[in-house]
């Protein structure tokens, strides 16, 4: 499903070069729920951005769902992102002037559908995340947990191949965070979606059936298989 080969990415900060990823190779199977752990600066968010086509590597290759991202033009990459990938962020990234329903519908509206066409799918997703009664509320009328539920519904509205989550519980209390992770795992299982979630929180990471640890831009741990055994 996801294939990274020798991916290198360096950021510039003024004159200094800050290495973010120093040759990462990783394969993620279809339908897997993979957590990527690491301290801040370990390169985990960079890796997520590269997989999601939000940024491009300096060298190395990335393919998602059989598609080599490096071969896509900017426009193709935008479409790929919009149609194949659902994003869930730490700070929800909802549009404040839109209702829950409109926020969820947004990826479909951007793709040329009308709100009328989008509505059945949007309603059923809002029901699915437990917000059927909140569809006309705006983000500032919702709690943090509810906003993240809206963001999850928005991520799922296009029925993506892949869900990418960047610290999805980083801004929630521990009980609400648990509910959100449970929801993400459950919806991914039902729709057989692949999930890659970046987190610095070990308890959140434990929702993944596989836990990859990054340090200084390299993979230093990869826990998969049953009962914590090494591959």
């Amino acid at each position: 499903m996801i294939r990274l080969r020798n991916v290198v990415k360096t950021y510039r900060q003024g004159r200094a070069a800050v290495p973010a990823l120093q040759g990462v190779s990783l394969d993620v199977a279809e339908g897997a729920f993979v957590s990527v752990m690491g301290a801040s600066g370990s390169g985990k968010s960079t890796m997520l951005h590269l997989i999601g086509g939000l940024d491009v590597p300096d060298s190395g290759s990335i393919s998602v769902g059989g598609q080599q991202l490096g071969r896509l033009s900017d426009d193709e990459l935008t479409l790929f992102r919009r149609r194949k990938i659902g994003f869930v962020f730490q700070f929800f990234n909802l549009l404040p002037t839109l209702t829950a329903e409109e926020n969820v519908a947004l990826p479909l509206l951007l793709d040329g559908k009308s709100l009328h066409e989008a509505r059945p799918r949007v309603e059923s997703l809002l029901e699915r995340v437990g917000l059927g009664a909140r569809r006309c509320h705006k983000p500032d009328e919702l709690s943090g947990g509810e906003m993240q539920r809206v963001a999850i519904a928005r991520a799922l509205v296009v029925d993506p191949l892949l869900v990418l989550a960047d610290e999805p519980t980083g801004n929630l209390d521990s009980k609400t965070g648990e509910e959100i992770l449970h929801l993400m795992k459950e919806t991914a299982e039902q729709a057989r979606q692949t999930v890659v979630m970046v987190t610095h929180d070990a308890r959140a990471a434990a929702y993944g059936e596989r836990i990859v640890t990054l340090k200084d831009g390299r993979v230093v741990g990869d826990l998969c298989g049953e009962e914590g055994e090494r591959p």
């Binding site: 929702y207 993944g208 836990i211 741990g221």
Partner: protein
């Protein structure tokens, strides 16, 4: 100490013989805590001597009498009073790992860092196993003791998380200490 109260608690629901007691104990907390028959019978003897439970022997055909235990009123008062008291002694820091670190201290830092890393992976595996169990539990039909099992798993998760955080912290300190040892002159400037 709390084996005593766990058995008292189970017997306070209804009288039971030793085998039933073990089965009830295993069903509730067996995942976190295993007891053998020896411990159960030793504890029951003590409870009986203290007058907290009483035993009656039920004759069985061609087999030894079956010993059935029930809580006395003194036992009930003792249980109630224990249930209302907070736990005075927190979890002991008596991990095998501390002993390993103790004998490694002062030597080359790399094998210690390797050990810390491996240990962190073990705890992550433990966290993951507990989380999968929690996820499966939430899908089961609602029962009175489901919440308590969920909270027990949470407690184990919080402890394992603390261990992971401590290991990450230890790793940073060990690295810093080894850098200081490698460059004592720069440090003193």
């Amino acid at each position: 100490m709390s084996v005593k109260y766990a058995l008292l608690g189970i017997l306070s629901e209804r009288e039971r013989h030793g085998y039933e007691l073990k089965a009830a104990f295993d069903e509730r907390v067996g995942e976190f805590w295993s007891l053998n028959y020896g411990q159960i019978y030793t504890t029951l003897d003590r409870l009986e001597r203290e007058g907290l439970v009483e035993r009656r022997d039920e004759p069985q055909a061609r087999r030894p009498d079956r010993k059935i235990y029930r809580v006395t009123s003194k036992g009930r008062r003792e249980l109630e009073s224990w249930l209302g008291r907070p736990v005075a002694r927190p979890r002991a820091l008596r991990d095998e790992l501390f002993i390993k670190l103790l004998f490694r201290a002062g030597g080359d830092v790399d094998p210690v860092l390797d050990l810390v890393h491996e240990q962190k992976e073990v705890y992550l595996g433990h966290l993951r196993r507990l989380t999968q169990r929690k996820f499966a539990l939430a899908k089961q039909p609602q029962r009175d003791d489901r919440l308590v099992t969920d909270l027990l798993i949470d407690a184990a998760l919080f402890h394992a998380e603390a261990d992971v955080r401590w290991l990450a912290h230890a790793e940073q300190k060990l690295r810093a200490a080894s850098r200081r040892r490698a460059r004592p002159r720069e440090e003193s400037r």
